[in-house]
């Protein structure tokens, strides 16, 4: 591929019916779009067909994007299709929520700074002031919004205002340590990712590494998942795991888990923003990526 050529991603899902794929590929062909990477999945349980097509325009001038959208869109309705067409180079706008632990935030900011994550970060929001200096070093606006049991609704409203204002595509809870309200979960459906510090569904709720210690497990892990109103029950995107043994005290499990957490979360964000990740009821489809 010529590195200067624009690339696009057409992704979505439809009813599991003959013809939808012919429609996708046919529209691309007619618009002189060369599809070089295709992944599909057909879920028999729910009779939905999931697709992700990466392509580049190889004709003269510019891709007639609107024509492609309307031609595909008009006929896609018959297949009950939900779809998204985007220029691959456009970064998603990601708002990050944190508390005091900095390992996941550090990791995301570093990846962002070296171009390993195609995102913009218009805001970092925290209920603590601790990570302000870090945000500033990366020139990212930091919003300190303290929270108490009484002020929770107002604080969430303030968070929501920022999300709205910056027009966020994705919200990442990078060890935020606060439970979002049902209403907030609903508003962020399919576009909020949390990292939980255990191999779900093994150890839900608080202090999972302490739970793991008590249980004497020989593997500990982390789970990145879409946020849902049922705590630690949202659709799983990625999971990481590391071997441990009897010498791991809770503190050592916490330390060990940091790497697993940040890798699982970074992978989940990457898969999401590259449109490799699809919600499918309480599960996800994640097409292969790097």
């Amino acid at each position: 591929m010529n590195a200067n050529e624009k690339t696009y991603i057409l992704s979505g899902s439809s009813a599991s019916k003959l013809g939808v794929l012919d429609l996708i590929i046919g529209c691309l062909y007619k618009h002189e779009c060369y599809a070089y990477e295709i992944h599909t999945f057909d879920d028999d349980d729910v009779e939905r067909f999931f697709f992700r097509v990466e392509f580049r325009y190889i004709g003269a001038g510019e891709l007639a994007e609107e024509s492609l959208r309307s031609q595909f869109g008009d006929r896609a309705e018959a297949f009950d299709a939900v779809w998204d067409l985007r220029d691959s180079s456009t970064p998603d706008k990601v708002v990050i929520l944190v508390s005091k632990y900095d390992h996941c935030l550090q990791d995301i900011l570093h990846r962002h700074s070296i171009g390993a994550l195609n995102i913009e970060i218009p805001a970092i929001i925290s209920n603590h002031p601790d990570l302000k200096r870090l945000a500033e070093w990366y020139n990212i606006p930091y919003y300190h919004l303290p929270i108490t049991a009484e002020t929770k609704p107002q604080q969430e409203a303030a968070i929501w205002d920022i999300i709205q204002k910056v027009d966020a595509d994705l919200v990442v809870l990078a060890r935020y340590m606060q439970v979002l309200s049902d209403d907030m979960c609903k508003k962020l459906h399919g576009r909020a990712i949390n990292i939980h510090h255990s191999l779900l569904p093994g150890f839900k709720g608080a202090k999972p590494y302490h739970q793991a210690y008590e249980k004497g497990v020989k593997l500990v892990g982390a789970t990145a998942h879409y946020v849902s109103k049922d705590l630690d029950e949202g659709p799983i995107i990625t999971q990481g795991v590391e071997p441990v043994d009897h010498t791991y005290t809770p503190d050592r499990l916490v330390a060990k888990g940091r790497d697993t957490e940040r890798l699982a979360l970074a992978k989940a964000i990457k898969m999401h923003v590259e449109r490799r990740c699809f919600l499918n009821g309480n599960k996800t489809i994640v097409f292969p990526g790097h």
Copy 2:
């Protein structure tokens, strides 16, 4: 090490008190025993000290084993020690319980046949006749003991008779698919290993791969653990894990899991028979091995 030299393992636990290690090493020194591999662990929670010492006798003639036993044993009492001294070459006698699935049994028998597990297998017991031919190929007595809800006590009694008769050191439930009675669990305390086809405590009980499918996890695993009267709650010895994705149907998870199960179980057996594995309440200590 001269391959012909006899090696021994002294393993056990004691109160966490100064002097026990000096006692162990001192006794070995006086008996001209060269300790070449030592691992210890001190559990602060329960104030017990766990040790495993591999050594060889380097003096003239034979090791005065009885003298070593009595000298060590007499003084070890003061440290509330539980200990075991054995010739490394002596194989444990292992009785294997199976149902119809053969992958774990195949694996154990193959390892045994090529000398990768230092065990004897005096009996394979099953509630089904299916694996008789396999047992015979390896020249191992196969006991077909069918079970029904009504005959469960008698069947277990028959199993127990065999275990007694062959003087089994260890009982391995290699996908046996039957729940042992509380009484049987008690009698086999610390010397029965089960393989559960999930990453405990994630998916207890029946059909864990179906549970994993419903939950949409991205990792599936297996857990080898000591049998306890609380089903799938026994002390964990080893756990294995493999990545999966949305394309794994329950059948494919079952297929994927077979390798994880057999590897986790084989490792657990090896650690146990090499005296690397110690019960510690509802947890285990597993010292490094191969």
Copy 3:
């Protein structure tokens, strides 16, 4: 999917040109074939497009397979396409070559016996008699063809006769321990898989575990690759790896490696027979599978 429905795989490669995908999907559509799993890869270096499409016929009666073949084939020529269409249920005929080590053979035969590998095994060939009893247990013809420096050409000719006679689709060197002649390698191009007991290109040639011991590596692995005339240089299909430490003597590395070898080889066979694996110069493309 209805389990009784026939499924097919259309796989191959073509020039990286606009239109080939439209051709594939269009032909399938016209023949009422529902493509439920698609993977593609475009190699910029060599300008080849690789594709694998799994589909089922959903029309009335039977798929007009010949019509599909001719419609697709005629137009595929313009894209310099190499392709294969097959009924997914048809097993490949696999001839296995072994020496004395049985772990890889045991593994393949067991997977075959439980239906985990969709293959037939019309012949096992060995330069030693040792594994005859195992082959017989599985009711597979065993050919003992001893080899010496002098008789090598004749022995290879005898092997080739068997491969021809049984019309083998694939030849698997399951720790065969003999180097095939250049001529034999050429004849088996793209349809012979070897398992090498190291992480290539790390330790080529003989006794790789001893090499690994001398070097003090902390990971050992195995590599399944297509056979080429340059020893241990063939296109890599799968690689497995396990952590080791300073306590691993060469013997222990050998023992550890057995599991890695058999898993890497079994995976490579599965990917090959499911048409997920493509030769691409001295490399391979392996589309996701289970």
Copy 4:
């Protein structure tokens, strides 16, 4: 363990002779030192016995450290022992060398900042100015020492001056991208760790990810090793590995490798400063740690 109690590490090696262990344990016992974690290894090839004992003083007042040193030291000579006794809480002084890539440096600095690595970092040295701002953020002196073919000796002399001045215990080449002179390697023998971005001995020298791409390997890794005068041949401490496939271009391999590199390097540093790591000719012994 009472968190306030001082802990110590006695580590080293001796001839493989009866009596050395009795000496170690006996001296500790007499000085009222409770050894709670012991690991030993006996290398038959070179007839050396390696040991690491963690203990705490449980008597009244303070440990008579000098008495322990002299009693042990005097008698240890007869066993040709090389040993080190240290207070566990004393941090090693680590000088870090970098070029322009920041991922390993970021990782080490972050771990240091949260107390995950018990080290001091008195100096960061680079042949480029790029990472100065990062060093300053962590309040660590940054020395920019440019290098050309002509100025290499002077630059190395300047590096050596800094190492001497800060009395460095360890030098870490965190993707330094420069080859040290033989003389420098000699001076840093056993106390300089490099991270190489491949699974040694697979791809030595420059651009290992490009080599891996050309070879089509299915796993890429990183190797942390002690620096020796033979480039990329030093004793291996840790290795990490990640699966890749045909879609990984050299750029994507580089990106994938970053995580493997930083984890392997951080682990190696931790093992070294906790005295778990021993040089043994061209290999290492690494006792279990977290």
